[in-house]
């Protein structure tokens, strides 16, 4: 339909030849509507008003008084309900009456009582004169929109909508579902391609007359009476039958939020609206007196012919919509408390969890902090205390080192810690710690888990505790570790996991170290500093054996042969299985009493 190149004539200096007519639809706040009508008529536009039949009589009288002498005419009042044909019918009546009363009108602009003209009417006239024949109406084929709220696109045209969307929402939704299931499809009149778009348009006299006098109008009206929200589809569809040149955009800025409610503008949007060169904006908060006083405002002469620029405003509104719909990742607060696995980002930024690694290397935190410059906290999920990087009683975000406060909401604690930290914070973790958040971290794409399994045994070698206690603790730790590893084996894991067994880590400590450095400082390349010294592993074999003999088979330690080879320099005779060996005096820990006696 628009194959012809867009005619653009920069000739209409004073907008000569354009006479604007304005249809105003009003239902509340008539005082404001009167003020807006005066702006239009003072600018030389012919105004026709449609006032909702539900508006109180006294207010209507006051409106008419206020507009005395402006030549405003009034359309017969209908009772209008949102989303129904009544709005279209009111518009059609008013349009016919306006065209008849003012034969000189060349363009008709549809506005509401809450639409504020941001630029003077003569600038709009001049703009329209640059586009003779053009109809400014957003008209998008329903097949290609994809932006309507509620997901009703084509179905607006093919289903039945006998129930009010606002008052009987449940019934409305159920009836739509039922029709979908039954495959109901009302036939669309021949020659009509459904289009939808903004309710606010500006049409040429010719196009509007063609729509009004269409020989098939009765048929179309009958059909659209049952279309959902016809004020966004009647003209938008039919204009495609008659218009020579559809400019598919609205001259009125009217953006809707995720709930289908128009955005409202306030005094603090003044600068934004002022530089936008938009002709008309809605909605304006009735109390935004600075906006009502400032507009309409003449554009700089150099810009007077420029196109409206809605991009900055749309960016602002899109940001707001995104905040409402997606929120800020990793934030848990009074008005954002996502359900499990509906978080849109469980944490605010990447972080590293060093599981077991702290038991493997001596002085790991200091070494890693020195090598990478990152903040390395200690065991923040420790059972006795929260070990912040600086060892203080108060950590990032003023989090307390008291475990009682942390345990009220461990997930919130971790999320706050990560959100309040410098980039890529890390902390130590082990089966000795509280295991509240294994699932949370495993399913968090921000988590970088560096896991050395079986490392929990190393601190036990040198603990000096009686063997019975060591045995009991070892069993507990191993159980916790197996549960953690089960979580890591789940198909839902989103974290990046790197795993070594104790034997592997002992065999190649430099690999573990360089992986830690790479994770904490990806841009830093290979580790620049040498790995910190390993924990003294003398006696690990003896302890493993003792535990095994006490009925606890140590798992997840890795290949026993590797472990044995690594621990070989240790002065334990290889004939370890002989009964004599079991009775040898222990070096580090108290072995179990001989049971053979």
């Amino acid at each position: 339909m628009n194959a012809a190149p867009i005619p653009f004539i920069r000739g209409g200096k004073e907008g000569a030849g354009v006479r604007l007519g304005v249809i105003m639809l009003c239902h509340e706040n008539l005082g404001l509507a009167a003020r807006m009508a005066r702006i239009w008529s003072d600018g030389g536009a012919r105004v026709i008003m449609h006032v909702d039949a539900k508006a109180p009589e006294a207010a209507v009288e006051a409106l008419k008084d206020a507009l005395e002498g402006t030549g405003t005419i009034y359309a017969p009042r209908r009772s209008c309900t949102w989303g129904t044909f009544s709005l279209v019918a009111a518009t059609l009546d008013a349009a016919a009456q306006l065209l008849q009363a003012h034969p000189d009108v060349t363009h008709v602009f549809l506005a509401s009582g809450a639409c504020l003209p941001l630029r003077p009417v003569d600038e709009l006239r001049r703009f329209l004169a640059n586009y003779p024949e053009a109809d400014f109406i957003e008209s998008v084929s329903v097949r290609d929109v994809g932006w309507t709220v509620g997901g009703l696109n084509e179905e607006r045209f093919t289903l039945h909508f006998p129930f009010s969307f606002r008052r009987h929402r449940k019934l409305f939704d159920r009836y739509v579902r039922l029709q979908r299931r039954l495959g109901v499809a009302r036939p669309i009149p021949q020659g009509v391609t459904p289009h939808i778009g903004s309710q606010w348009w500006c049409l040429t006299r010719g196009t509007l007359e063609a729509v009004l006098n269409d020989p098939r109008r009765a048929e179309f009206d009958r059909y659209f009476r049952h279309v959902w929200i016809p004020d966004e589809s009647y003209f938008q569809t039919l204009v495609r039958r008659h218009s020579v040149h559809v400019e598919s955009r609205s001259l009125t800025l009217a953006k809707f939020d995720a709930q289908g409610k128009p955005y409202v503008f306030y005094d603090d949007h003044l600068a934004l609206l002022g530089t936008s060169r938009i002709f008309v904006a809605r909605k304006i908060w009735p109390g935004a007196s600075a906006l009502y006083d400032a507009f309409p405002r003449r554009t700089e002469p150099a810009d007077a012919d420029e196109e409206p620029d809605t991009e900055r405003i749309e960016a602002l509104l899109d940001r707001a919509a995104a905040r409402r719909r997606l929120g800020r990742p990793g934030l848990y607060m009074q008005s954002r408390f996502p359900r499990k696995d509906a978080e849109n980002g469980k944490t605010a930024q990447p972080y590293a969890v060093l599981y077991g690694v702290g038991d493997l290397f001596l002085g790991l935190r200091e070494a890693a902090a020195q090598a990478t410059g990152r903040t390395i906290h200690g065991h923040v999920f420790g059972r006795q205390e929260v070990e912040f990087a600086d060892g203080g009683l108060i950590g990032p975000g003023a989090l307390s080192a008291h475990v009682g406060l942390r345990n009220l909401d461990p997930q919130g604690f971790l999320a706050s810690l990560i959100r309040s930290s410098d980039p890529m914070p890390a902390f130590l973790y082990s089966p000795r710690d509280r295991q509240y958040l294994n699932w949370f971290m495993a399913t968090d794409p921000n988590a970088q888990l560096l896991v050395v399994t079986g490392a929990w045994i190393l601190p036990l070698i040198h603990s000096g505790m009686p063997f019975d206690d060591v045995r009991r603790i070892a069993a507990k730790l191993q159980r916790a570790e197996v549960r953690f590893l089960d979580t890591l084996d789940s198909v839902w894991v989103k974290a990046r996991v790197r795993r070594w067994t104790l034997a592997e880590a002992l065999a190649q400590p430099d690999e573990v170290w360089s992986e830690i450095c790479m994770t904490l400082l990806p841009e830093g390349g290979a580790a620049s500093l040498p790995a910190p010294p390993l924990q003294d592993i003398t006696g690990v074999l003896r302890l493993v054996r003792a535990l095994r003999n006490a009925g606890l088979r140590p798992r997840k330690m890795g290949d026993p042969r590797v472990l044995r080879a690594l621990a070989a320099p240790l002065p334990v005779p290889e004939a370890a299985d002989s009964p004599a060996e079991a009775g040898a005096p222990p070096r580090e820990i108290a072995l179990p009493r001989q049971r053979t006696g």
Binding site: R328, I394, A398, L405, S420
Partner: protein, 341 residues
């Protein structure tokens, strides 16, 4: 089927609870003696503020001025036996209705029965703000938009209640170091707050969030975390006669009013009540309150304060933030503008 039955039982239980609280409000409301009744001045659409207080004379001028400036239309205040001139001062204010009672604060559920009674009588159909004299509401865009802009927007979004968590403010140095003068902005002195140490749990029965943390939790309740004061508040509600506050302004019935948060990851709009409790006036106040034994959970909080104060409590730490404006609170994730662009 069992689930359905359970839901039904819960529904009836909550309904019974609401009706009990309403009955209490009506009964205890009779203990209120009207000192000045200017409620006839209330216009439709006015935003109303409801307050219970005792001996707050020094704070009142700034308090009233603050809320007048953001657009509160009428104050409805219960004076619980002040003897410092608060009552006389309040009675002179042109936009204020005053009731007085000497009945027990504790016996009226810490004043909530009185407030519920007034809300029921005068709040219907209005946006009602229920605050203490040391709580100052901050909401998104407060520097450029009056409270009426917020309530209009809430109403058009189909929302009936607005969350504003309590944000404890404190000075740098001992609480009693800088004297507070009448009419002064309390946040010139108590300008610091804790940015991100708040724990949140959901109350499954009432569906409200239970927020604890901040300086009081970390400095006074670290060993007794479960009993740290609740910070979640829903002070702004478009009132209906069937509504009732259950426990302070922490939660309401019907419980749908407590769902002021999004559970799908999005953010709803929310504000904060800046809590100007920790000023020089606090030392005398807490000693007096401890004497009266009229506070929640056997005044456990006030015992902790007394102990803390004797050790010259200083809430300030390296991580404390100096309050600037609402944008700072939003950047820190304490409040949100939601989609109120």
């Amino acid at each position: 089927m069992r689930k359905f039955k359970q839901r039904l039982v819960t529904m009836f239980r909550l309904r019974a609870r609401r009706q009990y609280l309403l009955a209490r409000a009506i009964r205890r409301g009779r203990h209120l003696d009207s000192v000045r009744d200017r409620t006839a001045q209330i216009a439709p659409g006015d935003i109303l503020a409801f307050v219970t207080l005792r001996n707050e004379r020094v704070r009142l001028p700034y308090f009233l001025d603050y809320y007048r400036r953001i657009g509160v239309g009428h104050f409805l205040i219960v004076d619980n036996g002040s003897n410092d001139g608060s009552r006389e001062y309040l009675a002179e204010q042109p936009d204020l209705s005053l009731w007085s009672t000497t009945a027990s604060y504790k016996g009226s559920r810490f004043g909530m029965d009185w407030i519920n009674a007034l809300l029921r009588r005068h709040g219907d159909g209005h946006w009602c703000l229920t605050v203490d004299p040391d709580e100052f509401l901050v909401y998104p865009h407060i520097n450029t938009r009056p409270l009426g802009a917020l309530t209009d927007w809430l109403a058009s979004s189909g929302m009936r209640s607005f969350s504003a968590m309590l944000l404890d403010m404190y000075p740098k140095g001992p609480v009693t170091a800088q004297p507070y003068a009448e009419g002064q902005d309390p946040f010139e002195i108590a300008s610091w707050f804790d940015p991100a140490n708040y724990s949140i749990r959901k109350n499954a029965l009432y569906r409200n969030l239970w927020i604890q943390g901040g300086p009081r939790a970390r400095a006074l309740f670290a060993e007794d975390a479960e009993n740290a004061p609740a910070l979640n508040k829903i002070p702004l509600v478009r009132w209906k006669r069937s509504y009732v506050y259950v426990s302070s302004t922490h939660m309401l019935l019907p419980r749908s009013l407590n769902v002021v948060y999004d559970e799908d990851g999005g953010e709803m709009a929310s504000g904060a009540l800046l809590h100007a409790k920790f000023l020089s006036t606090f030392a005398d106040k807490s000693a007096e309150e401890l004497d009266r034994r009229q506070h929640y959970a056997n005044s456990r909080e006030y015992h902790a304060y007394q102990q803390g104060l004797q050790q010259r409590a200083d809430f300030w730490c390296e991580q404390s933030r100096d309050y600037r404006d609402w944008r700072q609170l939003e950047d820190l994730g304490l409040i949100s503008r939601g989609n109120w662009a």
